[in-house]
């Protein structure tokens, strides 16, 4: 029995300050997406055919968009998806697209297109020479998997593609010297901005960046080892960038570290708001995880490693806190014994996502 807080379900709820609504999440290793109310009761769910790669979320049309893992073309890397599926409220498939190399993230754009990250397999040593950094000789079974961003229309036609090998000055963003060369560079977030630009976040080269949609050039980036790698980078309505700084000890190691949720002004990359645990060790998730700014200014945080979802006010007060009771109790290759959650979202009852279908 590990010496962590063993409680699960809703640990606290300040009904006056928390944002009313429903919280959506998919426990990794289990095949269900759950919508829970503020008391932690499951009020709706979707039963999925396989693991997610790496989560699911509700669209403004009220449907669920998910990435389901396929077994074909398996590169044996984390967060493989492959089958993008849009389900209606009752679980019927209303749209789907297969790209067996899809991983981590995928989003529906307002124009109806879908954008996602995918691997391409590079086995040519001449191409390897162009990929900077990382531990020499540590490629992945004779390959390096490099990232592309693909945008498809509803019919599945590729309408835009951005490729690290063609469109990026990779030498400016080398893989961290302590990391292998399995991937350039493990994109865990693809987040379209209101103006069409695309935010991308990579783990292995400690880089978050914004790709200008027209020119395909990176016109903003942030690289700071002190954040210990990051997830769920997004642009807020106010133009600031919000992200989950994992605090993984890639370089840093003490005396007391932990994760953070950080809001920066991209004009200066200065921090304008930061949430940390108090003590720091009470909020730490070295991988996955996410954050969502809510309409009232609160922030919903997914501390992924612990299946802990909690909402804080701008003054850092915790006003809702939930720990997932859904543990993987069978022999899973990665997640046995865990209640890990990649990302979560809160939707109000009258939001386009819920559309009053729940009270």
């Amino acid at each position: 029995m590990p010496a962590i807080d063993p409680r699960s379900g809703v640990l606290q709820h300040n009904a006056e300050k928390a944002t009313p609504g429903y919280t959506l999440f998919t426990p990794l290793g289990l095949y269900n997406t759950y919508l829970i109310d503020m008391d932690g009761k499951v009020v709706h769910q979707w039963d999925l055919p396989n693991d997610v790669g790496n989560y699911a979320y509700l669209l403004e049309n009220g449907n669920l968009l998910a990435a389901i893992r396929t077994e074909e073309d398996n590169p044996k890397l984390p967060a493989k998806g492959g089958h993008l599926i849009e389900y209606d409220w009752d679980g019927n498939i209303v749209w789907e697209h297969i790209d067996h190399m899809q991983h981590h993230d995928f989003r529906r754009k307002p124009n109806g297109n879908t954008v996602y990250a995918a691997w391409t397999k590079q086995t040519d040593p001449e191409v390897w020479k162009k990929i900077p950094g990382g531990m020499a000789g540590e490629e992945h079974d004779g390959a390096i998997y490099t990232d592309v961003v693909r945008e498809i229309d509803p019919a599945g036609n590729l309408v835009w593609e951005w490729d690290v090998l063609k469109d990026m000055e990779m030498d400016k963003y080398p893989i961290d010297p302590s990391v292998h060369r399995h991937e350039y560079a493990h994109a865990n977030t693809i987040s379209p901005c209101p103006n069409g630009d695309v935010i991308i976040n990579w783990r292995y080269n400690n880089t978050m960046a914004k790709i200008n949609y027209e020119t395909k050039k990176i016109d903003w980036s942030l690289r700071d080892i002190g954040y210990g790698q990051h997830h769920d980078v997004q642009m807020l309505e106010n133009g600031n960038i919000l992200f989950f700084a994992n605090g993984a000890d890639v370089h840093i190691h003490g005396p007391e570290t932990g994760s953070q949720v950080v809001e920066v002004d991209p004009a200066t990359n200065e921090e304008v708001w930061v949430y940390q645990g108090s003590p720091r060790r009470s909020f730490v998730s070295w991988f996955i995880s996410g954050c969502q700014r809510l309409p009232n200014g609160n922030t919903l945080i997914c501390e992924g490693l612990w299946g802990r979802l909690f909402e804080v006010t701008p003054e850092k007060e915790i006003v809702w806190e939930y720990v997932s009771p859904y543990f993987v109790e069978y022999e899973h290759p990665a997640y046995t014994g865990n209640n890990i959650i990649f990302r979560c979202y809160r939707y109000a009852s009258d939001s386009p996502q819920i559309q009053g279908r729940l009270p």
């Binding site: 029995m1 590990p2 010496a3 962590i4 807080d5 984390p78 531990m135 540590e138 961290d176 010297p177 302590s178 990391v179 292998h180 790698q229 994992n246 993984a248 000890d249 890639v250 370089h251 190691h253 003490g254 005396p255 007391e256 108090s278 003590p279 720091r280 060790r281 009470s282 909020f283 730490v284 070295w286 991988f287 501390e303 490693l305 612990w306 802990r308 720990v323 990665a334 997640y335 046995t336 014994g337 865990n338 890990i340």
Partner: protein, 358 residues
């Protein structure tokens, strides 16, 4: 969401190894000896900060290293003033070496050994491989020496990583570590024959130094040690080490610290402990381990100030989360503990001066 409950959160009397646990929270000035329920049974006010811990000797006295303010190099775990205190805090022996850091031990013959920094000559510093280019100390590179002194403070044996080991190229510093030190020795452990086990952090290296030849007669230099601490030799001849797991290439579900028991004849791991899941046991710096009389292992998961005891089957039978918060930088607001030890009530160290520890 780690370790929410302070104090002793688990105590299985039928399985835990009974005794008193000594620890000195980093950034504080008090060494504490607590019973199995977390009550402080005895303490010593040290008048200074740890460099880096204290422990009890078989003669019942406390041996400690206290940080001095002279010759501050800006490197971690500085000590400088080694003291032996009796039960009431009177100093009965002391030795000052402002370059002492991390570890120090009393040998059976009454000598004391310790690790110290010594600035490397430029020609040797230029040979140091690996680490981040340009990340040397402003003075150059500080090498590690092992010094053994007699009770009067005379140096009777010494060893230098910089000058006694010629081939540095076998032991490159981790690519994301600085080059201020060659190579941040965090453990010195006297073993039979006057030999020493030593642990270097920067290059994931543990080795046995032969007293006569001053060469390594055993070594293990391996990323999987993850910037290890507290290498020691067990009665069986096996090596026990706290493998921190720092700087792992991918921080996924299976990363974390490990305790490895290694057969030095083959360097194979014969026993290991990891958290379940692995990330529930993780301290990328400091930390230690001690085998109990009943063969359980007491573990100091240093970063979070968590001391816990596991059976060889991996069951946690005692767990303590330190509530003692460091008041000042650089350790505030943490509860970090470098190393801990447990002594039975009837051990030579406690010698019956305290009652039943439960």
């Amino acid at each position: 969401m780690l370790y929410e409950n302070d104090g002793v959160s688990i105590f299985d009397k039928s399985k835990a190894s009974s005794g008193y646990t000594i620890f000195w929270p980093l950034g504080t000035e008090t060494v504490m000896l607590m019973d199995m329920s977390g009550n402080i049974a005895h303490s010593w006010e040290m008048g200074g900060l740890p460099g880096n811990y204290a422990y009890l000797l078989p003669n019942g006295n406390l041996l400690a290293a206290i940080r001095t303010d002279e010759h501050v190099l800006g490197l971690s775990a500085k000590g400088g003033h080694m003291v032996e205190m009796d039960w009431d805090g009177n100093i009965v022996w002391e030795h000052t070496d402002h370059f002492q850091h991390h570890d120090f031990r009393r040998l059976d013959n009454g000598n004391t050994c310790y690790v110290r920094w010594a600035l490397m000559p430029e020609d040797l510093a230029a040979k140091v491989p690996g680490g981040m280019a340009g990340a040397e100390h402003e003075d150059g590179i500080y090498g590690d020496e092992v010094i053994e002194i007699d009770v009067d403070g005379n140096v009777v044996w010494e060893w230098s990583f910089a000058t006694d080991i010629e081939d540095y190229s076998k032991y490159p510093i981790c690519p994301i570590e600085h080059r201020k030190e060659w190579a941040h020795a965090n453990t010195i452990c006297p073993v039979d024959g006057g030999d020493y086990l030593i642990s270097f952090r920067q290059n994931h290296l543990i080795a046995r130094i032969d007293r006569e030849t001053k060469q390594f007669t055993w070594e293990m230099c391996d990323w999987k040690l993850g910037h290890q601490h507290d290498v020691q030799k067990l009665e069986s001849g096996n090596i026990l080490v706290y493998a921190n797991g720092a700087h792992g290439p991918y921080h996924g579900p299976n990363e974390g610290s490990r305790i490895f028991e290694i057969d030095p004849a083959t360097n194979e791991t014969v026993w290991e402990y990891s958290g379940s899941p692995a990330y529930t046991f993780d301290s990328p710096f400091i930390s230690g381990c001690q085998v109990m009389p009943n063969d359980n292992v007491l573990i100091c998961e240093g970063r979070s100030g968590r001391l816990f005891e596991v059976t060889r089957e991996g069951e946690i039978v005692w767990n303590f989360n330190s509530p003692y918060v460091a008041p000042n930088a650089p350790y505030a607001p943490g509860r970090s503990i470098f190393r801990c030890y447990r002594y039975a009530a009837d051990s030579a160290e406690i010698a019956g001066r305290l009652g039943d520890p439960s």
